[in-house]
Subunit: 355 residues, 2 copies
């Protein structure tokens, strides 16, 4: 669920890039600017000791992190959701804050679950403040997220609460599935099972973010459905590219040493594709990888087999199919022309992230 | 937040006991029977791996625990809340399940925060399944709690959702305050600050449980306020008696070695009262206790000073005042006579628990 996408415009077929860079950066800035005050209000409502943990985790306090405060990708989805419905932008501040709070909860708790001691070049919150403080801060954030959307002054506040609750349920189930798959052999995990996991772990909150602003505004059900479906597919693609970056990305940019996922037994899509491929290399890989964690000494051999089975390219093809599906859903929906263009810019811009 | 109350009828002044024992046990059985099916449905909605953690934690699976599945105190409050409003008992099943799910989240995550490896004579969930699984199961439970009340088919479902969200916010803040006080010297903590902490940590969910059924039924605001206030005061008393039991209770019954709270630096009410008393013993205690954890070798000396300052009796007096306040709120409220009697039985019965 980290905000990392590789530099490879070819991944996002059909999405023009370059010309839209300025528009993309403008969207990121607008999303961040919109949610920041509401996010700070929500953090300000926490017990002072939890607010400290949160301010550090968000990069507002403490030593500067190598990658600033992180991108606010989900709030931008919420912003475009609101614009898709022609609704007031204050709805985006509320919807964007709610999904960002859930995302930050997931990062706080995932770092504990994965035992990660660093994020963006600084100690993770649990490593800095202790596990207890980080667990409790996450609990506080999920409650604030629900409270933020529940108390929204918008006609669709109740439906939006339902949307958010459902997304968090799916996200938690997806995370549970991700943990469960760590104990399965890669060749036992099918691509549909992987996609189902990614659709929960990352797609649910992306889909919620893309739909939530429109739900708050009581937009038409077909528009809401299209936005939710597009966001969900985009989330699956985002997760796949995160997998790719974890294997072939620049560890200095991602803040995550290459091979971490392999050693941990994460069933990333490239691994699933390679171990499931009916080739000598695939069978060799499946034999190397048991349900137990991979000894670090075997990482180079596994990487060689991943390359030999073209698993990076094949994973990127699966991501591209999900992006195409997201684009198709948006193109088929009744959206204002300028907003449709902004969706294109957002998807194109995300494709150029390397961290 | 453990369900432990000492055997000392004198604690609950003005509450007759003995004759009501049968009624009390009947209430406990009725509360458990009402929530069990809805609780099992909620657990059944979780990812299979989280459902396993939950079933173990709830005592449904695994080796029998020394104290069964635990008492369902909060669901009984929800049951009497519904009866206070003359509403259908199916509202109690929903309200009781929601508060019980929140309570179970708090136990799961508190065990992690406190590093407790045993609960009811068995390994705690995190000790058995790992920290990550226990963190994630707690996240799933809080979302299920909100979903359960949000989707209740009752006229006051929306108001009840607000009530529950507010209670969880206060509970988390109270837990944060409890952790923060571990790092303060006992003589720096005032009784009002302690009570504020207990009102959040334990009182908020008790108050919510006592109000929630009536809120679902859209009972009159004065009745809801009286029930919430009574539950909150009862929760404070419950927490104080939990403190007392942790110091002077039977470790074999409570499942918690006597002195654990002292060594951990917990600012229990007896400690706060003793360290703040303007006596030679009080000053000696305050000097012994710094903000750091207490060396186990000093536990006997501290216990002696707690006895010398009559801190148990004084803590029980504070608890009794909160019980009296709860009773006064209930007596002033417009309740059916038989339901008022059931509240008396519940409070009387709880006073006889020793674990």
């Amino acid at each position: 669920m980290t905000d990392t996408l590789p530099h490879d415009a070819g991944l996002w077929r059909g999405v023009e890039s370059g010309a839209d860079d300025e528009e993309f950066l403008g969207l990121l800035r607008a999303g961040t600017a919109l949610v920041e005050p509401v996010l700070r209000e929500a953090v300000g409502r926490l017990h002072v000791s939890l607010a400290s943990v949160c301010r550090y985790h968000l990069g507002w306090d403490g030593a500067p992190s190598v990658a600033g405060t992180g991108k606010r990708v989900r709030p931008v989805l919420a912003l475009l959701s609101v614009r898709s419905a022609g609704a007031p932008e204050r709805f985006a501040a509320v919807a964007g804050t709610a999904v960002e709070l859930v995302h930050q909860l997931s990062l706080l708790h995932d770092d504990i679950m994965d035992g990660d001691t660093e994020r963006r070049g600084r100690p993770t919150a649990w490593a800095h403040f202790g596990t207890g403080a980080a667990v409790l801060t996450g609990d506080a954030l999920v409650v604030q997220a629900v409270a933020t959307i529940f108390h929204a002054r918008a006609p669709g506040a109740s439906a939006a609460t339902e949307e958010l609750i459902g997304a968090v349920e799916q996200m938690v189930a997806g995370q549970a599935e991700d943990l469960a798959l760590e104990h399965r052999s890669a060749h036992e995990v099918s691509v549909p099972r992987y996609v189902g996991m990614a659709r929960g772990k990352t797609g649910a909150l992306f889909g919620c973010a893309a739909a939530l602003g429109a739900v708050l505004a009581e937009a038409s059900p077909p528009v809401v459905r299209a936005l939710r479906a597009a966001g969900s597919d985009l989330g699956v693609a985002f997760q796949i590219l995160d997998d790719v970056l974890g294997l072939w990305g620049d560890g200095a940019l991602t803040g995550k040493p290459v091979g971490t996922d392999l050693v941990r037994g994460k069933k990333t899509l490239p691994l699933v594709l390679a171990a499931g491929s009916d080739t000598a290399d695939g069978r060799r890989l499946a034999a190397l990888l048991g349900p137990a964690p991979l000894p670090p000494a075997l990482v180079p051999e596994v990487m060689g087999l991943l390359d030999a089975t073209r698993s990076r390219e094949r994973a990127e093809e699966v991501a591209a199919r999900h992006v195409a599906s997201a684009m198709a859903a948006l193109d088929a929906a009744e959206l204002p022309t300028d907003v449709r263009q902004q969706w294109h810019s957002l998807i194109g811009g995300l494709s150029q992230r390397r961290s």
